[in-house]
Each structure stands twice: as structure tokens, then as C-alpha cells.
Point group: C2
Chain length 198, copies 2
DNA sequence: TAAATAAACGGAGGCACCTCCGCTTTAGTG
DNA sequence: CACTAAAGCGGAGGTGCCTCCGTTTATTTA
């Protein structure tokens, strides 16, 4: 509840303009660095690239985990937001497929972070239920619209699709993982479209 | 199987005499430091107190976790060994009580290490099953002897006792935790002795 | 016992973490 | 606009981590 922990103050006093600016930049840069270097990316490097001192980083995010959590929440937010946007700009089935591809990208990012993220999700179970709820909610919307529009078969629901996608998590960490996951999504879509009444 | 990972080579080539000596000292010192300062104790300090260079420590234990694991295994070993010893030197019910008190000490040590240890036990499930198996095995021996000798009631088995002790783990982390746990053990023993035929 | 060699040692050096506090900037007030 | 308190900034510095490699030592062989 009262999400928005990412951008504005959740319920606390609003940050000063410069502070907010710096904070946003830090999260932005951290997201990139975590994605490319893993969660062990150097915090000093993040601060430097964000154009702030290391002290500023630590004031906003007292521990690495705080920063990781905010970045993670922000990405989940983005993923859910993308669902709405795609739904607006594309036919329902295409939106679903595009979203699933994006979901794969998202998971790919997470793979490097596995251990640290697992720790976080264990230690902070709210984080887990929050985010997994939001993600599956977004997906449910897409599946239902596509089914309602007759673009995909109606005898299947979002949790089935989610389950199918779940395989991606557990797939081995081979170099061709990305391609395979992409193919899996296409395959899944074919299955979904087959027997649609539209 | 082929335990003894603590002292001698488990199955590999025997260490050179000096190496073995240093390794033993490191484990010894690390056990003390971990107990007093938590698992985040400085490795350089451990090396120093053991009278070796930091390089030596890292050669034997490439990561902090390796060292923690060895120390942990060693302590479990000690706990199980104590069971035999106590059984030899005391009447069965006294042995059981003393052992449980020692078990409390052992848990007390672990409290500081909670998070790190949880990580270890999650990541390395063999470690968990190994050690918890050994500990409950040791306790089972004590309970059975005491029951067979008629020193405690016979209508209860080791897993019941273990379960009762389990409460210690989950007890809140108050300052008087130690005393309370000690009392819990006594209470438990009274319950066990009550109705013994001896 | 002496020489040869494989194993082990140790600590300097480079990097990252994180705290602390004097300096700078903002937002509010008259 | 000028002033000020409060908020925010940043980076020096102390500490720990870990690698690398020249030196030392135990063991083997002759």
C-alpha cells in the first residue's frame, strides 16, 4: 500500500529538490550498473557516475540492500507499467507476446542477482508478496483482454500462462539461455493462439 | 561419512606438518573470534592472532564461508563428542541434563551468527542435514540410555525432547535469554524425571 | 648429511566499504 | 531581496578484503 517508494516520498516529508534529483540519478545509474555488473557493482563507481559523492549515496541508501530493493521495485513497476502501455498500443495478443518478451528480459537481469536477491526476498517477505502480486496482476490483465477479444483461446487462464513462463526461472544458465527463452515465449503464444475463435 | 573434515585430511593428500599446524590454529582462533565478535570478525585479525600471514589464511580457506563452515562443523563435532563423554562420566539422567545445558551454550554462540549461518545452511543443504542429523543422533543416545536406566520416564522419545528444546531457537533475543533457556532445560528435566520408575 | 624440489608462508599493495564532519545549497521569512 | 536555519553534499581517511609473488621450510632423494 501507498507504493511509490521509488520516486516521491512514501508518506514522509518531501525531499528537497536537489536531494530528489540526486536520489533519482543514483537509482537510475544503479539500475544500469546492477544489470551489467551484478549486485556487487562498486557503490563508489555508482556514486561517481551519478555525479555525487559517496556520502550522498550512503545517506540515501544506508546499505547496499536498500539500494537494491529500490531498484528492484522500480523495475517491477516498469514492467507493470509496460503492460498497460502495450495493451493500449497493440492488439491484445500482440501486447501479451511483447510483454512476455519483456518479462524474459527482466528475468535475464535478475539472473546475475540471484543470490543477493534471494536473500532480500527471504529477509523481506513483504517485498516478495508485493512484487509478485503486482507482476501476476499485470499479466492477468493482458491474458484476460486477449481472451476476451478472441485473440487467444479462452480455456486457459493467467496462472496457467504464468506457470508456463515459470520454467524460465529454472532453466539452466547456459549462454544461449536468452534465445531459448525467447523461443519458449513464441511457442507458448502459438499454443495460445491456436483455437482462438478470432 | 568420512567425517573428520576438521583435523586431518578427509581423503586427500596429507598436509605438510607446518601447514596442518597453522590450519588447526586458524580454526581454533576463528572459533573464538566468531563466538565473540560474530561471523564478521576481521579475517586479518584472526590471521594475526593465529600467528600467520593473511595469505596463509586465504590459502586454507578461500572464502569466509569456508572458514565458517569448518568452524561450525567442528563445534557440532564437539557437541556430539561431549555426549559420549558425559554419558561415560555421569548417570544417564545427569548426562542428559548437562548435555542440554551445553546445547544451550552452543545455540547461544549461534545466535550472533544467525543470518550468515542461515545463508550457509541454505546454500549448502548437505551441511544442514549432516549436522542436524549428527546432533539429534547424539541426543537420541542420551535419551534412550536414560530411559533404559529408568532415570527418566519411558513414554517419551528423543524427538519429543528435541522438539521441546526447539523452543530455544525461536525464543526472543532478550538479554536474559541465557538464564531463561537454562531454566527451560531444568524444567524439562523435572518433567522427564517425574514418573521415572528408577 | 647435503642437495633438490615441492609446498607453504607472509605481507605489501590495490581496491572497496562506510563514517564523519566541515562546507554548500535550498526554502522559507520579513 | 537579504538573511538564516535546516537540509544536503562530498570526499578524506581508516579499515577490511583478497591477490600475487618473492622468500622460507619441510620432505625426499642420493
Amino acid at each position: 500500500m501507498t507504493a511509490e517508494a521509488t520516486r516521491d516520498a512514501p508518506a514522509q516529508k518531501p525531499l528537497r529538490a536537489d536531494a530528489q534529483r540526486n536520489r533519482d540519478r543514483l537509482v537510475e545509474v544503479a539500475a544500469q550498473m546492477f544489470a551489467s555488473d551484478g549486485v556487487d557493482a562498486s557503490l563508489e563507481e555508482i556514486a561517481k557516475r551519478a555525479g555525487v559523492g559517496i556520502g550522498t549515496l550512503y545517506r540515501h541508501f544506508p546499505t547496499r540492500e536498500h539500494l537494491v530493493e529500490v531498484v528492484y521495485r522500480r523495475e517491477v513497476e516498469g514492467l507493470c507499467h509496460a503492460a498497460d502501455e502495450l495493451a493500449r498500443e497493440h492488439p491484445a495478443d500482440v501486447a501479451l507476446e511483447l510483454w512476455m518478451q519483456r518479462f524474459v528480459d527482466y528475468i535475464a537481469t535478475k539472473r546475475g542477482l540471484a543470490t543477493s536477491l534471494r536473500l532480500l526476498l527471504t529477509a523481506n517477505s513483504t517485498l516478495f508478496s508485493d512484487t509478485s502480486g503486482r507482476v501476476s496482476g499485470a499479466m492477468r490483465g493482458l491474458v484476460q483482454s486477449a481472451a476476451a477479444a478472441g485473440k487467444i483461446r479462452a480455456d486457459i487462464d493467467a496462472s496457467d500462462v504464468m506457470h508456463a513462463l515459470g520454467g524460465i526461472y529454472s532453466a539452466p544458465n547456459t549462454p544461449d539461455w536468452r534465445e531459448r527463452s525467447g523461443r519458449l515465449v513464441k511457442l507458448l503464444m502459438d499454443g495460445l493462439r491456436f483455437g482462438a475463435r478470432g
